[in-house]
Amino acid sequence: MTGSAWAIEGTALTRRFGGFAALDNVSIAVPQGEIRGLIGPNGAGKSTLMDVLSGRAQSWSGQVTMDGRDISALGAVERRRAGLARSFQRTNIFPDLTIDEQIRLAAATAERDNSDEVMAELGLADLAHRRAADVSYGDQRRLDLALALVGRPRVLLLDEPAAGLSMQESMVLARILRDLAGRWGVTVLLVEHDMEVIFSICSRVTVLHLGKILADGTPDEIRRIPEVITAYLGSTVE
């Protein structure tokens, strides 16, 4: 660790699919402990950016650092072991394992085992011995988040964790996320289409549009930027 101010930083990130630039020279830096929202219309490059930062993307250019350490050459396994965890747009769990089995399995690769704490915080303790395939969709989404949170990662990339949840469930999830991130000092980069969630827990928001950064600022600033309103928010968000 070099003591960089940025928990995670991507510099000049570019990823092309043929002639189409899903990410076009994007730079983003998130300081330690911040919950950063990442919004934009479909196809803006949000998930591609998450893939590049997490080591899932195969061919891209630019540089990714964690606490100043260049992790660009590391694969997904090494990045996880370095303290970078992520969740996925689609529920990505182990359906045939019990909740307890998979959370403890995830904890075994981390420096500290906080399985019990994570299960309790996310309301999964009472379901611990049920197969993941047998619990509700909402419980599966919380399990997906738990698999990322276990071991207290330093940086957490969340790709639409509230997708498919009711408004009430989304807000509960947002509160849990804000509490845990605050207590554990986790840096979060959060992709989410639910603006209630984004504006309620993020201290800053970055807007992507057509593979480029359109705007960056506090939620209040973002709400007032005409280009963002036109490209994404529309007139419904005041």
Binding site: R80, T109, M119
Partner: protein
């Protein structure tokens, strides 16, 4: 933290399985004392060897989610290794140990390469490798005597045990039965370990396993090697019992039969394929007494099991056991 979580086992304890396995194991050991028919004991010995092979094939399906059409390679390699190493002057004891160790190491090295490939392509690769060995022993007459096969020149005693012990049905049945029970017990313990949970997780969702910090190729290769080791053990038992080995032990049809045994018994259960091996063998022999077309009977059995009992005969027994025990069948 709730009491449910604190210090709780990761899965409900299934000590009942352990007791049942040991009881069945002990009951099987009394068989030679109860049954005097050498023919029946011969059939049971062959069935037990089949069951060991099927257990290896089924374990790969259960734990890696992949289907091998080439486990005859490890079965046959073990038998040929025994014959060739003794022929080249190694002590029989060393040959026997190497007969299991060499195919296992080969499988580990091969596994590191081929487990990265999934689905039909994986199955075809395993088939190609096995058929390559089959062609090798068939064509290289100077080494392995071609399709005439090789007699294995065992000494009079192996590991201080009279060789006749391994070649008489009553005593060899005991050896094979104990080996089968030990294999099932070992796999059951492995499945309950963290490594067992990890490999199941990889089977379920390999990408997510990487994102919780696990490399996935080596665990899959180790499972492949374990299943190959079990097939090699079956090949060794075959070699000890028959004292002879032929290219048929490497042929894809043996791999196919082992896979059919696993499917009939139920590969989701560690012991299911062994049950399937015994069922397969007795159907084969019973049908063979009436018709030369016994494979058709096996085929019909396979179709019926696949359509009506997708979890195999073992799955039905588990379901019935749960019902009789008043538990909700899964």
């Amino acid at each position: 933290m709730t009491d449910i979580v604190a210090g709780a086992p990761t899965r409900p304890r299934r000590m009942g399985f352990l007791f049942a396995l040991l009881a069945i194991g002990a009951a099987g050991c009394t068989l030679p004392a109860v049954v005097q028919s050498p023919l029946f004991l011969t059939l049971m010995t062959q069935a037990a060897i089949n069951a060991v092979l099927a257990t290896g094939v089924g374990f790969l399906v259960r734990q890696n989610g992949t289907v091998s059409f080439g486990h005859a390679a490890f079965f046959g390699l073990s038998a040929y290794a025994t014959a060739l190493l003794i022929k080249f002057g190694l002590p029989a004891e060393a040959a026997i140990i190497l007969a299991v160790a060499l195919p296992t190491l080969f499988a580990l090295a091969l596994g590191v390469v081929i487990v990265r490939i999934t689905g039909v392509a994986f199955s075809m690769l395993t088939l190609a490798v096995a058929q390559a060995f089959h062609e090798l022993v068939l064509k290289w007459r100077e080494l392995a005597n071609g399709d005439d096969g090789m007699a294995i020149a065992f000494p009079a005693r192996v590991f201080g045990i009279d060789m006749a012990t391994f070649q008489q049905p009553a005593s060899m049945f005991l050896v094979c039965w104990v080996a089968l029970i030990a294999v099932i017990l070992g796999l059951w313990l492995l499945c309950r370990s963290r490594f067992g949970t990890l490999t199941l997780a990889i089977r379920e969702n390999e990408e997510r396993a990487r994102y919780i910090g696990y490399r996935t190729v080596l665990p899959r290769a180790i499972i492949y090697a374990v299943s190959a080791a079990i097939a090699a053990l079956a090949g060794l038992l075959f070699a000890l019992y028959n004292g002879f080995v032929s290219p048929g032990t490497l042929h894809w049809s043996l791999s196919g039969e082992a896979l059919i045994m696993a499917i009939i018994g139920g590969p989701r259960l560690v012991w299911g394929p062994a049950l399937g091996g015994v069922i397969f063998f007795f159907i084969k022999n019973a049908a063979g007494d009436f018709t030369d077309h016994w494979p058709a009977v096996i085929g019909i059995t396979l179709i019926l099991v696949t359509v009506l009992l997708p979890r195999g005969v073992g799955g039905v027994l588990v379901w019935l056991g749960a019902r009789l025990g008043g538990r909700r069948p899964s």
